[in-house]
């Protein structure tokens, strides 16, 4: 039995038909809406690769039931900017070359945005604490911290 859910993603209302309203939002975004910014990393809410914003707050989409997202504003990495018109955070990540494999970077940018929305001028320690539950395996941490600082200085 299919359920029709109307979601507001990156400012656009869209209706999807899914079998299980408990299906995590991640699969709606990636498989139904072809938004590949949010990434599957653990399915347990541990690593942060799947991070999106729900009503302006960072959320782990791999454990966020789709039905709970109805009526809320969902923002993904794609909603921030594009290669030709990047969001200041995305631009800062490019300028700092803050990527190795880049698989975790969606989460770093989305969690970083959640921080900057609350704290316009975080210091290095604030940034490290804000990202403490986002995992990076390549060891790009120092560049990621620098990128978020740089973005905060652009604003």
């Amino acid at each position: 039995m299919a359920h029709r859910l109307t979601l507001e993603v990156n400012g656009t209302r869209t209706t999807v038909s899914i079998d299980d309203p408990q299906m995590p939002l991640l699969y709606v975004l990636r498989d139904d809406l072809q938004l590949h910014g949010p990434r599957f990393g653990c399915g347990l809410g541990q690593c942060g690769a799947c991070t999106v914003h729900v009503n302006g707050k960072a959320a782990r989409s791999c454990i966020y039931p789709s039905a709970q997202a109805v009526g809320k504003k969902i923002l993904t990495l794609e909603g921030l900017g594009t290669p030709s018109a990047p969001h200041p955070l995305q631009l800062a990540f490019i300028q700092e070359q803050a990527v190795q494999c880049g698989y975790c970077i969606n989460g770093m940018i989305m969690q970083g945005k959640a921080l900057l929305d609350q704290n316009h001028h975080p210091n290095e320690e604030d940034i490290k604490q804000a990202l403490a539950n986002n995992l990076c395996r390549c060891g790009t941490h120092l560049r990621i911290v620098r990128a978020i600082r740089r973005a905060s200085e652009m604003a």
């Binding site: 299919a2 899914i18 079998d19 299980d20 299906m23 995590p24 699969y27 990636r30 498989d31 938004l35 590949h36 910014g37 949010p38 990434r39 599957f40 990393g41 653990c42 399915g43 347990l44 541990q46 690593c47 690769a49 993904t76 990495l77 794609e78 921030l80 900017g81 594009t82 290669p83 990047p86 995305q90 990540f93 490019i94 070359q97 990527v99 190795q100 494999c101 880049g102 698989y103 975790c104 970077i105 969606n106 940018i109 320690e125 490290k128 604490q129 403490a132 539950n133 986002n134 995992l135 990076c136 395996r137 390549c138 060891g139 790009t140 941490h141 120092l142 560049r143 990621i144 911290v145």
Partner: protein, 735 residues
């Protein structure tokens, strides 16, 4: 450069096919085209590496792939300079068995050093041929010609002819000339510059296509159900409740291989939970607390003597000042943030596999063997994955997908779960090394002996595919753990040295290589034990190293390190407060033949909790000619941070049946608040060969930490990881 008409037509047809293949959503036209009709891939042909289009664009074909290290950009830089074409006009295809030459596995810090230099030589050959051809057409002696911006030009004039006009869409038809002159490195415009990476804008905006994003029309989703114990046999399974899930297709069983397939991903995930599988018990793993006894008692197949200078055992008898110590290094997992993923499709008994494998050519062989088909009937295409840091589960996911696609008759995407990745990727094998050293009365080392206990290396490079093992498909199990003997030999000039690897018949987990295999474990022991000898000789550890080195480049590097790190010989700290501070040094001449790295680690040890906080790593790095200094720095930072994580935190957990550290809570890695500052000094030698940088820095991190801990609290940590429990236990009992 004068191909026959037929050949030219074939190549033109091939050119359009190449374009078609680069459209990611497209299906392979593989069934209708023999590979040789498309383009050559032999390592001795220029056309295997390079093609110049009629519009002046340059296509580069690389068997080495970008694993998130930036080599896509670096290889493009190399071609831009050697061929004298604009950087922007170059595209690069990587790791496609149909289109790219087999340049070997992307491993061992060799993508630039070997892969890049093969491409550079092909570009130099092409450039020389283009100059010759232009000379003929322009009636100008080749010594009066130069190249720039994709054209051959007469010196001191406007006359020129573009590469595109010279070639007119033809191929080169040339063997790579190993003597083709390389450009003067001082004229490089792009090499040596911090060119921004090509992939980053797409990766920070969600536009980049990872393996996990790749889709094929008609594709279905699968998840594997692995045995509850490594050697368990599948007795039976019941998927009746899974069959009620919308979009569920079926369970596939072949021997002990079990998987579920569904039209959508979530149903496949839920089906895994609802299938009831009955496995035989199995408890063949050693007790974790007795791992090192197990390693020491494992049957030795033979010894490899890796270094033998003078007569170490006899020399050791001449003095009474002797030291002995044993170092061990835990089993590690690769820990890719994105669990392994692959897609496979069968058409007319031919297999196409999209994979994030670091070894598509070898994977092609393995898949061909598994299904009993010729390798030519398998095409493996690289699509960037989550960083793998060695041979992780990507290849196994490809094997899973290929097996399932054959049964299902549709393209199958296999996505491993987090537990699949943590539980079933092959592991870095446990390493145990005994050291003995002897000093004379004046503190000179008279004998050095090391004996490593490491698993044997069969002749094949391949780590067996899980699906082939579980489904009992060929070949029989064989394991190759990578270059784990490398790095046991030491760079020092002691008069008597013997380094021996006792090769073990087996190791508890399917072994493979994880970043800096062997060199990390062996350098940990070597460079920590050197510190023990320095301390016994009462000589500053940096001074002790330089006294025993004759290599000028190594000595120069250590002098730079002394100055950059502001190293001062001093008595060991004796601060008795809660936080003790320490500094440690370590050095490598990687495999004794390439990259030089020296590091100083600064850290704090909390005496009450035993917790180590690494505050800073200072790195001096000499890998010869630097292609991209920022890419290099990025690699060095990654080497340090990842290895601090491995050294302080990481250790595979297991019971007698299986891996029990199946997620990031039970196998934690470093987090942002624990990441040290990294200070890097690069020594650039533009006129030298470029060497690798993906691993060498990692090799010196564990020993630098161990040596700094000794400096801080006076105890030696000889067992990775350096957990707070081990630190607390290491304190000598109060007198």
């Amino acid at each position: 450069m004068t191909p026959s008409v037929t050949r030219r037509e074939v190549l033109r047809a091939g050119g359009s096919l190449v374009v078609a293949f680069s459209v990611r959503a497209g299906l392979p036209a593989f069934a209708t085209q023999a590979p040789e009709a498309i383009k050559p891939v032999a390592l001795d042909q220029v056309d295997s590496f390079l093609a110049i289009g009629a519009d002046g664009t340059v296509a580069v074909y690389s068997g080495k792939v970008d694993l998130g290290t930036g080599v896509r950009t670096a290889l493009t830089q190399i071609v831009a300079d050697e061929l004298d074409v604009p950087f922007e006009k170059i595209t690069i295809t990587q790791g496609d068995t149909l289109l790219t030459p087999d340049q070997g596995i992307t491993w061992g810090s060799l993508s630039i050093q070997v892969g890049g230099m093969q491409i550079r030589q092909a570009a130099a050959t092409a450039r020389a041929a283009l100059i010759s051809e232009a000379g003929k057409q322009m009636g100008v002696d080749r010594t009066e010609l130069l190249t720039s911006d994709g054209a051959v030009r007469a010196k001191g004039g406007d006359r020129h002819i573009s590469y595109a006009d010279l070639l007119q869409g033809k191929s080169f038809e040339l063997k790579v000339d190993k003597d083709a002159p390389l450009k003067d490195p001082t004229t490089y415009q792009v090499v040596g510059k911090a060119v921004p990476r090509l992939d980053i804008p797409g990766k920070v905006t969600g536009q980049f296509t990872y393996m996990h994003d790749y889709r094929v029309p008609g594709m279905v989703h699968a998840r594997v159900i692995r045995p509850i114990a490594l050697g368990a046999q599948l007795i039976s399974f019941d998927d009746s409740s899974a069959r009620r899930l919308p979009g569920y297709l079926k369970a596939v069983r072949q021997g002990n291989f079990l998987a579920v397939v569904a039209e959508n991903e979530w149903t496949a995930i839920k089906a895994v939970q609802s299938v009831r599988a009955n496995w035989t018990p199995w408890d063949g793993l050693p007790e974790k607390t007795k791992l090192w006894e197990h390693v020491r008692s494992t049957k030795i197949t033979h010894d490899d003597v890796l270094q033998n200078v003078g007569n170490a055992s006899a020399a050791a008898q001449t003095t009474s000042r002797k030291l002995a110590a044993t170092y061990d290094f835990a089993i590690h997992t690769h820990g890719s943030i994105g669990p392994s993923c692959a897609i496979a499709q069968w058409q007319d008994n031919k297999l196409t596999c999209w994979t994030a494998s670091q070894q598509t050519h070898l994977l092609r062989q393995q898949l061909a063997t598994m299904f009993g088909i010729p390798p030519e009937d398998v095409r493996a295409l690289y699509v960037d994955g989550s960083g793998c840091y060695g041979r992780n589960g990507h290849e196994d996911a490809a094997g899973d997908a290929a097996l399932l696609a054959k049964v299902i008759g549709r393209p199958v995407r296999v996505q491993w779960s987090r537990a699949d990745e943590h539980g079933w990727d092959p592991k870095g094998p446990p390493t145990l090394i005994d050291y003995r050293g002897a000093l004379d009365e004046t503190g000179n080392v008279v004998a050095w002996e090391s004996e490593a206990y490491i698993v044997d290396a069969p002749k094949t490079f391949a780590v067996p595919l899980i699906a082939a093992q579980l489904a009992d498909l060929p070949p029989a199990a064989a394991a190759f753990p990578g270059n784990i003997h490398q790095g046991l030999a030491i760079p020092y000039t002691f008069p008597n040295i013997k380094a021996t690897a006792h090769r073990l018949v087996d190791t508890p987990f399917r072994p493979s290589w994880i970043r800096t295999p062997g060199r990390m474990q062996n350098t940990f022991g070597n460079e920590s034990f050197i510190d023990e000898l320095a301390s016994a000789a009462k000589v500053d550890p940096l001074e002790f190293r330089t006294r025993n080195l004759s290599d000028k480049r190594g000595l120069e590097l250590l002098e730079r390190l002394r100055s950059v790190a502001v190293w001062q010989a001093r008595e060991r700290h004796d601060d008795s407060g809660e936080i003790a501070h320490g500094r440690g040094v370590s050095y490598t001449h990687y495999e004794l033949v390439r990259t030089y790295v020296g590091v100083v680690c600064d850290l704090e040890v909390n005496r009450k909790t035993g917790k180590i906080r690494v505050t800073r790593f200072t790195v001096v790095h000499d890998c010869g000619q630097i292609i991209n200094p920022d890419g290099l720095r990025n690699q060095i930072e990654g080497n340090v941070i990842q290895t601090v994580s491995r050294t302080l935190i990481e250790e595979l957990q297991f019971d007698r049946s299986a891996v029990t550290s199946l997620n990031w809570a039970s196998y934690p890695i470093i987090r942002f608040p624990e990441v040290p500052e990294v200070v890097i000094e690069l020594i650039d030698r533009p006129k030298e060969k470029p060497w690798g940088a993906g691993e060498p820095t990692a090799s010196v991190v564990p020993s630098a930490i161990s040596n700094a801990v000794f400096d801080a609290i006076g105890v030696r940590l000889r067992s990775v990881p350096f957990t707070p429990e081990k630190v607390m236990k290491s304190f000598p009992p109060p007198v």
